[in-house]
Symmetry: C2
Subunit: 160 residues, 2 copies
Amino acid sequence: MITNNHSHHSGAARNGPPPTTVDTLRARGLKLTRPRRIILDVVRTTDAHPTAAFVYRRVRRRLPRVSLATVYRNLRLLAAEGLLAERAAADGMRFDGNTGTHDHFTCLACGRIYDVPARPQTAVRARMASSTGFEILDYRMEFYGRCGACRRRRGRSRLG
Amino acid sequence: MITNNHSHHSGAARNGPPPTTVDTLRARGLKLTRPRRIILDVVRTTDAHPTAAFVYRRVRRRLPRVSLATVYRNLRLLAAEGLLAERAAADGMRFDGNTGTHDHFTCLACGRIYDVPARPQTAVRARMASSTGFEILDYRMEFYGRCGACRRRRGRSRLG
DNA sequence: GGCTTAGTTGATAATGATTACTAATAACCA
DNA sequence: TGGTTATTAGTAATCATTATCAACTAAGCC
């Protein structure tokens, strides 16, 4: 469902600029194990910024004996390697297979987090940096509201 | 350190538009107890978006027998009443006495969260709404980088 | 000031998410 | 194929946050 350039069981590009998942890991002395590959794949093919528990459930379908600890350990590791993004939400950490620049929309009714295209705001960034003395390494916009699905089905929403 | 219109032991305005803390609470059948008043005051006079644990420590200086549960309970309640703002961070929930519109800068080195003035982006908001079908109720910008203090003192930072 | 009552507190148990630990296992490389 | 080393499954431990409940107190009223 998400288009990405990371070959899942390699193919593989012999000269291409984008390093494969295996390469990224190998470069750090890390192994691409079966649980790890599946965890990464689950996050990448899920659009709803899953929690660790959600990923665990999904991974178990393909690997019934996987441990919850393995899921946590790998989510953390893959995020540290830049193969995933992680963000804090009110109900715990959430993960994102989309590591490209983009913003987020959080539906206050269903809690789902949607990706929305980011627009570069270099002016804002520069002005911000010069007026505060901060070194701006990154920034993003967070939108809050109600998604299409939740606007239709009224009632039982977490909103007033 | 923060200028606010909420009189701590009332004075009080007899006609002014901004409702006092007591009024806001009373309107909901809530009482302004001593722990509650102190907790609110601590958050409002702290600039660093404190965690519950931080608030607890500060409150204990003035009210040694306060319970941690009381702190959590009130932070949640005060946020629900709109007297405080709360936001999720990687290390847990954080609270903010500044309920006005503003953006945030998170220092990746020391973890501190700074308020920065927000600039209204109604155009962005409208475009976003029409292109996605989402109902945008609110939005904010999050900046990440290194604050002035951390830029000076190099080393021992959480950054690479 | 005292009385009443409904919201609150302090103390602690309970819950839920995340992490640490360890013997056994599976990737990877020569 | 065999050895080395990262990794896993299972589970205990930790940490933040919430629930529970008897005792307390703020707020309204006389």
